[in-house]
């Protein structure tokens, strides 16, 4: 089961869950993913081992995808 979450004021919100076999759930997740990107969020996939990658497309077998807000110098 893959998950798309957004870090927000509630801690985090699960936007979508899908499996590789469930096409409808995946398409819904892609829709959420694109909405978040348009809203200015950045999609990150933590790969473990101190490595993360930015995503521009939602992989079908992503595991956990986290939407974060942009950072800036304080």
């Amino acid at each position: 089961m893959s998950r798309l979450i957004r870090m927000d004021h509630t801690g985090h919100t699960t936007l979508a869950e899908w499996t590789a076999a469930d096409q409808a759930a995946f398409e819904s997740a892609v829709e959420h993913f694109r909405c978040e990107l348009e809203d200015g969020c950045i999609a990150v996939h933590d790969l473990g081992g101190g490595k993360a990658e930015q995503l521009r497309e939602l992989p079908r077998d992503a595991g956990l995808v986290i939407m974060r807000r942009p950072i800036a110098g304080g």
């Binding site: 101190g50 930015q54 974060r68 800036a72």
Partner: protein
Amino acid sequence: MPEALAGDGPDALALPELGQVPWRTRTDERYLRRYARIWTFWTLLYAIPFPAAALGLVLLEPLAFPVALACLAHGWIIPELYAYRGASVLRPKGPRNEHSEPVAQGLLGDLLDHDPRELQRRTGLALQDGRLGTWLVGESGALLLTAGGRRVHCFCVRLAEAGDRRLPPSDRIAHLLLALRTDEEGFATVANHAFCGAPWRIRRRLPPQMRPALDAARGRH
């Protein structure tokens, strides 16, 4: 124990926030060494004249002793203020959001290995090894220990938060940690450099519960 950052190789995607600061040179090891040398030079430049003036005044006119004391105070206070500014990048800021913090803490815990997770729960700081050094990530800034743990760079970095959608503290740390893991040099470039100096100057100005995190980071060198 945390594994070293690996997301800033030549093939990795650069941090998108770099577009906000196109004029900045990418912060790499060479840049940090040069920055540290310049910072040391400036520290000496603004710290030494005050004690020198105090000594000169007393030699010229012993009755000017009170003015000499004021000079010495200036020579002590100004470096202290700079170090305070550096330590401030790790101080907790903003609302605590107690209701949502446990959820955010759970997510942040999932991003950390066992030892850094325990350290973060005790100190509020996330430890992350990188190619540039060892990082300590807080809610609104990060410390980078370099040169075998003998030098610390303090970075001030914040989230683009909107309106009342204030994030709980652990989510703020998770944001910075994910950005750091995506592109370490990019993260250091986007963040504002607030201080550079010896870790002991920062340690005594940190809240006591955070000091073990700095000790742990120094212990990794």
